[in-house]
Symmetry: C2
Subunit: 392 residues, 2 copies
DNA sequence: GCCACTTACTCCGAAAGTGGAAATACTTCA
DNA sequence: TGAAGTATTTCCACTTTCGGAGTAAGTGGC
């Protein structure tokens, strides 16, 4: 038998789909330009994707002095993806259609310490309910779950999560698939936030470092335009990096003076308590800072300094074009000022000249946005397209 | 006019060439397996590359229970590349044929402080002489020059090189091309050493950090199997990272306590001198260590500790599978022990479990090997193949 | 309001790349 | 010695792809 049609194409369907998905092409002519294919071939590709139900034409776009282009979009009704971000006490869920439009949203109080089965059962129930609430819901294509702890790149298991008691070795994807038969990606939350920020707005930086400072501290890395996970999947896990010159505060990892034990929201709450200033949690501590509470502000600035000190070594090493500060503490000006100050004091101009230091544009949504992007990428990966094509 | 031949192929000539060059394919059948092309097409590609003079058949390989494969190799006579590694007082030059075999070698004393024009004129003269000494020398295809200082990725200029007075802003490629009309790549020496080590021997690590400790300290990064240069090209430049807890030794950059000022060979020579132990240079200092001179050994161990402390932050952040220690100081056991000890004390098991810490296998040759690889990659890049094809 | 011009897209024929099957070359293993 | 296995070649049919011509549908000048 000669080669079946469609397998031999130099530019695969998923590549063309990606162009449209990511907004890099909105017409047949765009596809031709972006891929380097001839107009004929590009049109044929698009036609096939329309026939298969992935793309739709939505009227015409603005003319650029000639015939107006026929605007292409993802067909939302082609499917749904689910983005989940787990926190210690809170789960954020977004359901998006294939076009990336959010069609449902849920926020649940959870207790991560209830363990993976219980928490994920709650989450899955909320997802099922959210999907059931939609008029003629399309099929679920993929799901991404963000967790506040390290995830092994090779096995997908949660590993040594300091803030997730009972989750060590948990196979989140397998647990979810007990109830929802879809491909599931599990990813560390800081990594997802980096992705969310990377995808948001203007021109994405090829090399970016995203540092998340909330109750804990984590960091996500984009190298060469893609997420850098490292050999084990633990890249960016700077929580247990020793901070130079920091007091020997004991850390959950058994050592002292770790960044997490010195500069995280949880650490600051504890430091305040020791000094007779009770704050219920990180949010409460930030409320104090918003009221210009002097000691809190001072501690925040120092924590920013500690974070900036660790980051400056990283920036020298990695030389990114953007450093983004996210997580709850990024709303505290004193903290951000402390980070900036430490970095400018400790990095040479060669590094800081080409560096943009910014507070996250997408704020608390970063993790869910990143999870959404991962889920969409998974749903329209060549592999998944092939699997679904074969299933018909 | 219909499409000209050879432009439409899904697998470009340079990809097939790369398979053979890098030893991943030694027969037509290998090419078919590695590329996923049919045997027919793979054979056609190989035939074309033989016709164009890039590949040759060199007898047959060992049979695996059937017809023995016809062994393919790069045609050495297809061209030459030049690999140059500049040090402060020494230039190493290697001339290789297209098959990657070294056909000439030169070692020159230079004084980097003579400035770029003078030094490079000397180097180019040596290259010309070396090439002239060959029987019927093939044409020069490409050249890579490694320099002991930062190189801008965007402009290719040498930038703020602490150890290269008079080279700030030097356009090494342009200067060389005055005399040798070939494509030239300029690259920081630590980056090249990382590449050299990466290419050498067994299975190359996808994520690798190479730290070079000689008179100065630098570091090269491999992320996702390719050299990570960072946004400006300065990635890995850890010389001016502040070392936690180090004495406030003034540094050439204007700050104090930089890694370069604390733990480099030059810094140790100075520290020894202050304590009344004269050593002429880094080599002399290492000779003392080889004679088990107590103070030198102690200083080396402390320098290793400082280096390891900076590296542990980097390892937490980057999570590589290999850390390679190179440069002159890697021959001092006390130094290497200091590095290891600091890393194991300061990185969590999550990071160290999947980490191999090794001394460079290729030693002093690392930089030239890396330069050779860069030059060969450049010579057989799709762009250069196209340029040369058009020139005929 | 007509006309030149630009841009987007479609139809058509031709050439080239591609893979499958079958044939051939050469070797190991029983 | 033959059977089986691997490497390579030959032949052929099938796609894919492209370029060019043709059509569609706007803009802007006068």
């Amino acid at each position: 038998m000669p080669t079946p049609a469609g397998d031999r194409s130099a530019t695969s369907p998923s590549e063309v789909l990606a162009l449209v998905r990511l907004g890099r092409a909105t017409s047949r002519a765009d596809v031709a330009r972006e891929t380097g294919l001839s107009a004929t071939t590009a049109a044929a590709r698009v036609e096939m994707l329309i026939r298969r139900g992935w793309l739709v034409e939505t009227g015409t776009g603005p003319s650029a002095g000639g015939r107006p282009p026929r605007r292409l979009e993802m067909r939302g009704a082609a499917g749904l993806v689910v983005a989940v971000s787990l926190g210690e006490r809170h789960a954020a869920i977004a359901v998006l259609d294939a076009a990336g439009r959010q069609v449902a949203e849920r926020h649940l109080p959870i207790a991560v310490s209830d363990g993976p089965e219980a928490v994920l059962r709650t989450v899955v129930t909320a997802v099922e309910e959210a999907v059931a609430g939609l008029d003629d819901a399309p099929p679920l294509l993929a799901m991404c779950v963000g967790v506040p702890g390290p995830v092994s790149a090779s096995t997908g298991l949660v590993v040594s999560p300091a803030r997730m008691p009972g989750w060590n070795g948990a196979d989140v994807a397998a647990i979810v698939r007990q109830w929802l038969p879809v491909p599931v990606i599990v990813q560390n939350d800081a990594n997802l936030m980096a992705l969310g920020e990377h995808a948001a707005g203007g021109s994405p930086a090829e090399q970016m470092v995203f540092v998340k400072v909330g109750s804990g501290i984590g960091c996500g890395v984009v190298a060469g335009g893609v997420l850098h996970r490292g050999s084990g999947g633990f890249a960016g896990d700077i929580s247990h990096t020793t901070v130079p010159g920091a007091p020997p505060v004991p850390c959950s990892c058994g050592r002292v003076g770790c960044l997490d034990a010195v500069a995280s929201g949880a650490a600051l709450v504890e430091q305040l308590a020791e000094r007779g200033v009770p704050a219920p949690d990180t949010e409460g501590m930030l409320d104090l800072a918003r009221d210009a509470h002097p000691l809190t502000t001072q501690l925040l600035r120092e924590a920013g300094g500690s974070t900036g000190t660790v980051l400056s070594t990283i920036l020298n090493f990695f030389n990114p074009e953007r450093l983004v500060i996210g997580g709850h503490l990024s709303s505290a000006e004193a903290f951000v000022a402390g980070v900036r100050s430490a970095i400018y004091a400790q990095c040479p101009p060669m590094i800081t000249d080409g560096l943009e230091i910014a507070v996250s544009r997408v704020g608390q949504q970063a993790a869910v946005l990143g999870a959404a992007r991962e889920a969409l990428d998974l749903a329209f990966s060549p592999e998944q397209l092939a699997v679904r094509a074969a299933a018909r």
